[in-house]
């Protein structure tokens, strides 16, 4: 946990610096009231302070339970799922959102989780029907349709 704490603190320190730098050209005070840079300044300041407290705490603490990383198999599943999720965003304009979502479900069920074929197809069909029925037919939402037109 020591490494995680220090890393979280570093990320927050970094974000604080980003906030400070990107809002430095904005007014801190405007007429009667705080300006655009007032809140960013104090949020960043608080972030720096609390990050430091976290680092000090992590260094002083004796016991450090290790981070609960998944095993190789688990890691593979998580990474593949995350990759598949991002692929939805990338492929949706090309293939259509609903079509991509269906492909993602089949990929997740059959490739990543290695489920049986028929229950997987059934789950996918039920989900697709729900999406079409509720979102498209009923609420009239226009999904990106892509080359195939679905």
């Amino acid at each position: 946990m020591k490494a995680a704490d220090i890393l979280s603190a570093c990320v927050m320190l970094f974000l604080a610096v980003v906030v400070l730098i990107s809002t430095r050209h904005l007014p801190y005070w405007a007429d009667f009231a705080p300006g655009s840079a007032f809140s960013p300044f104090w949020v960043a300041a608080a972030s720096i302070l609390v990050s430091c407290v976290l680092v000090v705490g992590a260094l002083r603490r004796q016991s450090h339970p290790p981070i609960d990383w998944p095993d190789r198999q688990g890691l593979r599943r998580v990474l593949l799922t995350a990759g598949g999720l991002w692929a939805i965003v990338v492929l949706a304009p090309v293939l259509g959102l609903v079509a991509t979502a269906v492909l993602f479900m089949l990929f997740l069920l059959l490739v990543v989780l290695r489920r049986n074929l028929w229950p997987s197809l059934l789950t996918t069909a039920v989900t697709a029907a729900l999406i079409y029925g509720v979102f498209s037919a009923w609420l009239g939402i226009a999904f990106p349709t892509g080359l195939l037109g679905i």
Partner: protein
Amino acid sequence: MNMTGKVKSSLTRRLMLFSLSSVSALLMLGAGEGYAQGKAPQGPIEITSGTSPGGTPDVLMRRVAKILNEEKIITNPIVVQNRTGGSWMVAANWVLNKKGDENTVLTIAQPILTTPITTGQPTVYDKLTPISMFIQGDLLIAVQPNSPAKTFKEFVDLAKQRERSIKVAGAQAGSTDHMVTGLVEKASGAKLNYVPFDGGGAAATAFLGGNVDMIVLPPSEALPHVKNNKIKLLAILSESRRTEPEFKDVPTAKEQGFDIVWGQSWGLAGPPGMDPELVKFWDNAIQKLAATDAWKATVKEMFLRSQVVNASQAKEHMAQLHDQHLALLRDLGLAK
């Protein structure tokens, strides 16, 4: 009628197979209308809107869609889609990217002009194909019922007594309310204290709770509070007074010696490079819409005006509006 019309839109694509297989049906569809000579879009039409459902432009366009369909002016199903985000720029970009598309039109509202100005982005209005500006809304200046000022002149004198002593509630920075406040300051020489709230509803709440002195309201929103004696109307910012009994006694700012004329306007524009034939199709449709009783009733009921600026003048009109907004936002220090 161009039967093999460019089927570019994703929406039509879905219907392509279907429509090609039923050419005769389409011919009938075209012939059944009064504009058989011109070109008409095939399949469902999207009116893109940048507000979340329920906002004024959204309500207006849903009404427009309903009347166009019900009166059979346009037989394609019309859907209003709310592509929110980026102060209308997400909606604008959506349509800008649909160059030559036949099934998408964009709702034109003030942010289409002002957001590029306040954020320093390239202008949007001049890249679209203007169709028509056909809805106009008036604005009223209202004060607390117990305000010592009885006329707009007295109000300005009151504001001049102490700089920034008059508090004005309105929507976010750069909104219509803000611009009107800027106009009042410019025309009168008084300095006001503009407090932005999260939208018009929140501003009205702050006003009704007695926290501020002045507010800018469209007639439809002002009416219930006038009836209940919660506000006092000092001026209407149009060229001429309204004719309804409820508002005919509200003098224009111009009558009272202050040259402030400002209002809201809404309309439609097509994507860049829209076929002139299609522009004509829409132009006709809007003119027919404006002549229907249903539309006249809507306009009356919502206390709007509907002067159709048709496609031939819309470009110039929008450029003029843009310049006015640009000048005003520069004065307010909001232009980038």
